[in-house]
């Protein structure tokens, strides 16, 4: 009945979505061949099919917009699922100082740039967040692709990601409240509710996560997938109702799950996340007016350089306490340069603000630059000159040649 009534529209929607999905598949393969993340390509594709692009879509925009919202929730759910409660506790214990350095040297340039561009404080804080958070997806892939999981500096890099993860738990609700807040008192109230909710869930997750997960553990994979998906949307929706962003609700669901359920849910949700997250990236740049881009290229490039150097400082600060040498500290920093999914999630929160359009365009250009350049710089980190080193660097060509096992 429904299909019959909307027959013609449905046909058009299917054709448009099918064509877009196939296009994204081609891009994902191309990115895989180049050995980089597909996110920049999704963003470029979004520009092409958006308003003012070369092949604008109109019929399916509504569907894509809803899928994009679900994509954000799933991205954050999987981020929450990524680390065990134990890893979070350990990260908190040892990572506060490097995490603080990381925030200071990467968040601040973004915030400053926003203010210099004449934006309001809220949008500038969002830009700070865009520059701050490394892409855990890209970083983990870079470390694995470059065979660096065995390296001494790698735990430091991963710990920075854990701390950024936890920092997001506080940052996201605060900015969501800033964006939604009408006046100071209102904002303050929302922020306190949000932070209290986050703190509560964190404590519950770290203390009783196992018992909560045991409730979900029974039953088939199908039942678990539906339960986790349902819980994520439900908690996300409830969080949105009380002005805490839906994304943070999803993130907290991920954090609260632990043990075998966490691993199973992660494996089950990931394909779903890939599907919806691709539409999220597409939709994000879909909304960008290509006319806004030329104006933001220069600031984006400048920010990429400054915060790229910022990540070198983060890597240095994180790897040093582990007794890693200068060469390894530099590798740690370069691995962290890539920004990706979370920068886009943060930028999308600002869609409704006065300078939201410019923020979106700037974030897209910035992510494009860092997500492509980051893995390349990381790959050649051993050939970079060591800052402030007078000892001759070991010849990278001689030592990285593949003699031995592989």
């Amino acid at each position: 009945m429904i299909l019959a009534a909307a027959g013609e529209d449905a046909a058009l929607v299917f054709i448009e979505i099918g064509a877009v999905a196939l296009g994204l598949a081609v891009l994902a393969r191309f990115a895989g061949r180049l050995g980089i993340t597909a996110i920049p390509f999704y963003l470029l594709a979004g520009l092409a099919v958006g308003e003012g692009g070369i092949a604008p879509l109109d019929v399916s925009a509504e569907f894509i917009s809803l899928s994009a919202e679900i994509g954000v929730l799933l991205l954050l759910l999987v981020l929450g699922l990524e680390y065990t409660a134990d890893e979070l506790r350990h990260g908190l214990r040892g990572g506060l100082v490097p995490g603080g350095v990381d925030a200071a040297v990467n968040f601040t340039p973004g915030l400053g740039a926003g203010l210099l561009l004449g934006w309001d404080l809220t949008t500038a804080v969002l830009l700070g967040g865009v520059c701050w958070i490394s892409s855990s997806g890209v970083v983990a892939k870079v470390l694995s692709d470059l065979d660096r999981l065995g390296n001494r500096e790698t735990p430091a890099v991963l710990n920075v990601l854990v701390i950024e993860d936890l920092a997001m738990a506080a940052y996201l609700p605060v900015v969501a409240a800033l964006v939604a807040g009408r006046d100071l008192a209102d904002t303050a109230a929302t922020v306190s509710i949000a932070l209290a909710a986050v703190a509560l869930v964190l404590v519950v997750a770290l203390r009783w996560g196992e018992r909560l997960s045991a409730l979900l553990a029974g039953g088939s994979d199908e039942a678990l997938l539906l339960a986790v998906f349902g819980l994520t949307l439900l908690v996300g929706g409830l969080a949105q109702e009380v002005q805490v962003s839906a994304a943070i609700g999803a993130f907290l669901v991920g954090l609260a799950l632990s043990g075998p359920v966490q691993a199973r849910a992660g494996a089950l949700v990931e394909p779903l996340r890939d599907l919806f997250a691709a539409t999220f990236f597409l939709f994000f740049s879909f909304q960008i007016d290509p006319g806004d881009l030329p104006a933001v290229v220069l600031p984006a490039a400048a920010l990429a350089v400054v915060t790229g150097a910022g990540k070198l400082v983060s890597g240095h600060a994180a790897a040093r306490p582990l007794g890693v040498g200068p060469r390894g500290r530099l590798r740690a920093g370069t691995a962290l340069i890539a920004r990706g999914e979370f920068s886009i999630v943060i930028a999308s929160l600002g869609a409704g603000t006065d300078h939201g359009d410019e923020l979106g365009a700037l974030a897209a250009a910035y992510v494009l630059l860092t997500a492509v350049a980051g893995p390349v710089v990381a790959k050649y980190a051993d050939r970079l000159p060591l800052p402030g080193a007078h000892a001759p660097a070991p010849s990278p060509a001689a030592s990285s040649d593949g003699r031995g096992l592989s």
């Binding site: 890893e87 999981l149 390296n151 001494r152 790698t154 735990p155 854990v162 060469r327 070991p394």
Partner: protein, 159 residues
């Protein structure tokens, strides 16, 4: 036994490292997915690895076995699951004409179709004996083949 250190890799798994008697630093990265990586550290830059070997869960089992886990029992277990294959323990008696000759000399496989996969000598298993293995009286040949082939092999060795 050298000291093994354990390092957490958040989101990835765990890494164990130790130093070999030769002074090489070796590590095993255990992914949560069951994949393993064996890494050998660089001598010039001890923070990075010189070579990495990627292992699937199956590869890991194979390697562990090659490195000394009981080879024989695994082979027997897998054989016993197969239909149409049988396994037999055949003692080489004092008067057998094969005492003092090698497995190669006996041409057992071409005569009977059954393979000798191990020899047990005085309760010590010798897995995968080569064709140049020389039988002593009292050796127990562990052979795999069809029921028929094994009967032939037993008759051959008994005479």
């Amino acid at each position: 036994m050298p000291e093994v250190t354990e390092i957490r890799l958040p989101g990835v798994g765990v890494r164990h490292e130790y130093t070999t008697a030769d002074g090489e630093r070796v590590g095993v990265v255990s992914h949560r997915t069951g994949r393993r990586e064996i890494v050998v550290y660089d001598r010039e830059d001890p923070d990075k690895t010189r070579s990495v070997l990627h292992l699937s869960p199956d590869d890991t089992r194979t390697l562990a076995e090659l490195l000394g886990a009981p080879h024989l029992s695994e082979a027997l277990a897998s054989v016993q699951r197969l239909e149409g294959l049988a396994i037999d323990w055949i003692t080489v008696p004092q008067g057998s004409r094969f005492v003092g000759s090698t497995i190669g000399d006996g041409q057992f496989r071409s005569r009977t179709g059954a393979s000798i996969v191990a020899v047990v000598r005085q309760n010590t298993p010798l897995p995968s004996p080569g064709p140049d293995h020389r039988f002593e009286a009292g050796d127990v040949a562990v052979a795999v083949g069809t029921q028929e082939g094994l009967t032939q092999l037993r008759q051959l060795i008994d005479t």
